[in-house]
């Protein structure tokens, strides 16, 4: 390939990505850089970590971090497991599986704010369906879900699981369907039990999907803000305040952009490192077909 031809081919490619690149720079890269600058007080000349130390030493921020870890763990693990289980069940030859797949998937279609509002009503202490059902089963039925700790955290976790399990199910389902069915037939002829087929064929060959699902599940859980805004506003007494809500509050309610920028920068760095390690660490253990 001659230089001029190369230039023409690549030049056209760059020209085509230029419009979206401009937007990316203007609305993503520039704000990221500016938020780092703001967090370091660099706009005023000197560079300092005063905002970081002020933020890190505040109990509210420490609590937001703790809450976020609790939230990430207890929402990600069940949602991924439920998604996997549903995918395996709905991948078998069963009657009406189209209906069930849709039923499981449909919370994904709802905007999260709508889903949260629905759950606010379902979880209402006095008129909610959840307490009503608990009452019928003879269980404690006067729980004030979204207003008392620790139930408020449980409530936002329930919404996450309800909202995202169906989506993870869909991702797992597509992973399952790309597994060559002749492998199962062969294993069956060799006398492998259902459990052995799951453990020896399905799970290993599904690992690229699992890898991807777990990563986005964790990232999703650190990006939670809508259901918290709608359901609890971080309360009661900060027990459901997580990082992104903390950033929102400091940035757009209290008007302290330095603190919000510091928290954003930390969150950004954390997610970047997480993704990096997960990607490179995970790649060696993941079983790719090709």
């Amino acid at each position: 390939m001659t230089i001029s031809k190369k230039l023409r081919t690549w030049g056209a490619a760059y020209l085509l990505i230029l419009p979206s690149f401009i937007f990316l720079v203007a609305f993503t890269f520039y704000p990221i850089a500016y938020s780092v600058v703001t967090s370091l007080d660099a706009a005023s000349g000197g560079i300092g970590f005063g905002n970081y130390s002020k933020m890190l030493s505040s109990t509210e921020f420490q609590q937001a971090i703790r809450n976020n870890i609790v939230y990430a763990f207890f929402s990600t693990v069940p949602a991924v497991l439920i998604g996997l289980l549903l995918a395996i069940v709905l991948n078998t030859k069963m009657k009406g599986k189209g209906f069930y797949r849709f039923a499981v998937f449909y919370p994904t279609i709802l905007p999260i704010a709508t889903a949260s509002m629905i759950w606010v009503f379902l979880l209402s202490q006095s008129i909610g369906l959840v307490n009503h059902l608990l009452g019928i089963m003879g269980l404690p039925s006067k729980i004030d879900w979204v207003n008392t700790s620790p139930y408020a955290m449980v409530s936002i976790i329930i919404v996450y699981i309800w909202k995202y399990s169906g989506y993870y199910m869909l991702l797992f389902l597509s992973g399952l369907q790309s597994i060559d069915s002749s492998l199962y037939d062969e294993a069956y002829l060799e006398g492998a039990s259902g459990w052995e087929r799951l453990r020896m064929i399905t799970l290993p060959l599904l690992s690229p999907t699992t890898f991807f699902v777990v990563l986005i599940a964790i990232v999703n859980s650190f990006q939670a803000v809508d259901q918290i805004y709608v359901m609890t506003k971080g309360g009661p007494h900060n027990s459901t305040n997580v990082l992104l809500y903390y950033i929102y509050e400091y940035g757009f309610v209290y008007w302290e952009p330095e603190i919000a920028s510091s928290a954003s920068t930390l969150l950004f760095a954390f997610l970047l490192i997480l993704t990096f390690f997960y990607w490179y660490g995970g790649q060696r253990k993941v079983n790719y077909e090709r």
Binding site: A12, L15, L16, Q125, S126, I127, N147, G235, E249, F252
Partner: protein, 424 residues
């Protein structure tokens, strides 16, 4: 070659698209007409945007050289976001309708004008058109920066049918804290609370004020939340919770749905809920003044007009004229009937359409009469939203029984001190 020309053309089109969209935007105004941009929030449900559009259109019809463009900006928080970001970007709105806490922030950020010169230009007595209790929220550290427009206040709601069942006089709401506790004890049953009080800084402040305490100094640089009066107010409420007469936490919306569902016999709620309760309650209900502590005091809340700085004098004058027009009896009456907010101009209540409205909703008169005991929307400090959040959050913590009122209020005072440290 033809292909690369095509690609080039395509790329250029994509680049130019946003420019084309931008060029198209913006409202066309007659060249000699002044377009005044007005950011307003809607805090309550209803067909309010239409009512606001009608009011602005009516003003523009009466004043053909000014076109007031009402811009719905979300809730109060979002309206402040738009106002502040527009001003910081050098493209200020002309008028905004802000809640009290944000008026303080707007002054601290230097984005709104002091209004005393405008008030002076109207001559003596201009402010007499307002209920005096509604003017507190228009001041920052004792100076006028805002003009009241949509104001609400908490009132006491009770279920008259439940009063009758329990042998209480259905025409008499509890008058004091002691009576409230007694009534709550009588009215509490296995499946309903005696009373629900939405827990936030607004109502907590009212209890502290009623107990003879204070929230902050007039400069807004100090709070007084660890006084015996403040602690006593929390102890009173905690006692109601501990005895099972009221839930530890309810939001305003939760309380009104509980009230109409018969899950609570009495509640504190905003006048903003009057229409909802009227339309949803299937029982006989009434309202009264908030029960008095050592003193009878009630807070107000809601939104007030501000004029943004950085606009021409011509625009300032037009903005002021619009604000003046909007607070005349007819307009305040119209907005009050559409929204449920209390009309800020007492003369509105003398209009025939308002008389008809209050005849159908006599509870609105109780809210008006209670205004003689009104103060502003506490806390009235710098960084008021942060102080409010600290108050509401600690209040939740104390009523949940996680920390004693004494320790809780001391801790709260310490956090308020550190929030306000930069202003001292």
């Amino acid at each position: 070659m033809r292909k690369s020309i095509f690609v080039l053309a395509l790329a250029i089109c994509m680049l130019l698209m946003p420019a084309a969209v931008l060029a198209q935007g913006g409202r066309e105004a007659a060249s000699d007409q002044l377009v005044i941009r007005f950011y307003y929030p809607i805090g309550t449900a209803g067909d309010l945007a239409n009512a606001m559009n009608e009011l602005c259109a009516q003003y523009s019809a009466e004043n053909p050289d000014v076109d007031v463009e009402p811009i719905y900006a979300g809730d109060y928080v979002q309206t402040m976001q738009r106002t502040l970001t527009s001003s910081k970007a050098g493209n200020p709105a002309d008028i905004a309708l802000l809640t009290s806490a944000d008026v303080w922030t707007a002054v601290d950020e230097g984005i709104i004008l002091p209004l005393q010169p405008f008030i002076d230009s109207e001559g003596e007595g201009f402010l007499d058109r307002f209920f005096p209790g509604m003017l507190y929220d228009s001041m920052v550290a004792g100076e006028y920066y805002a003009i009241p427009f949509q104001k609400s206040t908490p009132i006491f709601y009770y279920n008259k049918d439940m009063f009758r069942e329990a042998g209480l006089d259905p025409e008499k709401a509890p008058q004091t804290w002691e009576e409230l506790a007694e009534y709550a004890a009588i009215l509490t049953t296995d499946d309903r609370y005696g009373v629900e009080i939405p827990i936030d800084q607004w109502l907590l402040s009212i209890f502290i004020l009623q107990n003879g305490g204070e929230i902050n100094n007039i400069e807004g640089t100090e709070t007084y939340l660890d006084t015996p009066e403040a602690i006593g107010a929390v102890e009173y409420l905690l006692d109601l919770v501990n005895k099972g007469y009221m839930p530890a936490k309810r939001l305003f919306g939760d309380s009104s749905s509980d009230f109409v569902a018969g899950k609570t016999a009495m509640m504190y709620n905003s006048t903003g809920s009057l229409a909802f309760v009227r339309d949803s309650a299937s029982f006989d209900w009434g309202v009264g003044f908030l029960p008095a502590g050592k003193e009878r005091i009630v807070a107000t809340g809601g939104g007030q007009f501000v004029i943004c700085s950085g606009i021409s004098e011509e625009r300032q004058a037009a903005a002021w004229d619009f604000i003046k027009w909007m607070t005349e009896p007819a307009q305040t009456a119209k907005w009050s009937m559409a929204s449920g907010f209390i009309a800020v101009n007492p003369a509105a209540f003398d209009l025939p359409e308002m008389a008809e409205y209050t005849a159908a909703l006599p509870q609105a008169i109780v809210a008006r009469d209670q205004l003689q005991y009104a103060v502003g929307e506490p806390p009235k400090t710098h960084d008021a939203r942060e102080v409010s959040q600290a108050m509401a959050s600690m209040f939740e913590n104390m009523l949940a029984g996680n920390i004693s009122p004494e320790e809780g209020m001391q801790e709260l005072q310490a956090s308020c001190d550190s929030i306000l440290a930069e202003y001292n």
